[in-house]
């Protein structure tokens, strides 16, 4: 009366676990919690010729502009929307002080003078251009002539 030996019947979980961990790793790397100082509520226009941001830029100031043309609050000193050119120029002058400090330190250390910060305007696609022009002129008044428009890479509507 011999009974057959009882064998354990278990699925092999190891490859599955490997795969799951790889997927977890992928999504962890792709997760973008705090990327740049950008506002996801702004619907950007599209342009085919839009090029990626130059990684060599030392300092980039993002200005998020809503559909009304106001510069939205950010984590870099804008605590309420900036609604006109004077307010934009005032904010940008504060930023210019930081640039001046960087230049002073570079001069002290005998390093080449850093080029000024780049201003990237991320404006809503339905915003009127007069407001954008105002913001640009405010930046220029404060000493920021290097300006770029942000757009999603794609065919223009």
């Amino acid at each position: 009366m011999s009974h057959g030996s009882v064998e354990k019947c278990e699925p092999n979980m190891t490859p599955m676990l490997d795969l799951v961990l790889q997927l977890v790793m992928f999504f962890m790397l792709c997760a973008n919690f705090i990327a740049e100082d950008v506002n996801a509520t702004i619907k950007l226009p599209t342009a085919l010729q839009a090029r990626p941001l130059d990684k060599a830029e030392d300092r980039v100031i993002f200005l998020n502009v809503d559909v009304k043309g106001d510069v939205l609050p950010n984590t870099r000193g804008i605590d309420r929307p900036l609604t006109n050119r004077v307010q934009v120029a005032g904010y940008m002058k504060n930023q210019a002080a930081f640039d001046q400090e960087l230049k002073r330190r570079a001069a002290e250390k005998g390093k080449p003078e850093p080029i000024g910060s780049l201003v990237v305007i991320r404006a809503h696609e339905d915003c009127k251009y007069a407001k954008i022009s105002d913001i640009m002129l405010g930046c220029r008044e404060a000493g920021f002539p290097r300006i770029q428009f942000r757009a999603i890479v794609g065919i223009s509507k």
Binding site: L17, F27, R51, L53, C127
Partner: protein, 182 residues
């Protein structure tokens, strides 16, 4: 003797790593990242050249290869009530009163692209002929495109026009309001 016998009978314990909790946790993490996965669309930038300030320098980078015989192109854009293109007039040089680009909206933008491209091809041919005549080998540099825009134009239309100019081969585009003093 007794010690060695005891050692010999000690049972072999197979190490068992419980992977079920690990798998549970991994699935939870996977579910979290799957739900929060929000791939951002690829963003890029378009360079802007600010219009010349009264008494101040232009923000355009100095170009040592500027072709003196090629004049800047001026594009005047009027807007309709919706902020789209109502009309486009294109001119080249100070004495040019300008020619209307046919169409409205997207058609006008498309025709602007064709016009700009044709102008650039002509300018390139003239530059090559001039170089041949005087025996120079200077490279051709596309002229600047100045946009004179209506203030109620939508930003996306401005970007589209800049995009058309860039695609046509003009890397330097200077958008400004038509009422600005340049």
């Amino acid at each position: 003797m007794s010690r060695s016998r005891r050692h010999a009978v000690s049972p072999f314990v197979e190490p068992d790593l419980p992977i079920t909790p690990m798998l549970d946790m991994s699935f939870q993490l996977l579910a979290f990242f799957l739900m929060t996965f929000n791939p951002t669309p690829t963003e890029g930038h378009l360079d802007v050249i600010l219009p010349k300030q009264d008494g101040g320098p232009s923000t355009a980078p100095p170009n040592p290869f500027q072709n003196p015989e090629v004049e800047d192109v001026t594009v005047r854009v009027e807007a309709d009530d919706k902020g789209d293109v109502a009309s486009i007039v294109i001119a080249q040089g100070k004495d040019d009163s300008g020619a209307a680009v046919p169409g409205k909206g997207r058609d006008a933008r498309s025709n602007l692209f064709t016009d700009l491209k044709a102008r650039l091809a002509t300018a390139k041919a003239e530059h090559a002929a001039r170089n041949k005549n005087i025996g120079e080998t200077g490279a051709f540099v596309a002229p600047k495109v100045k946009l004179e825009l209506a203030d109620n134009l939508n930003f996306k239309i401005v970007i589209a026009i800049m995009d058309e100019a860039n695609r046509a081969g003009y890397p330097a585009v200077a958008p400004a309001l038509k009422d600005d003093k340049k």
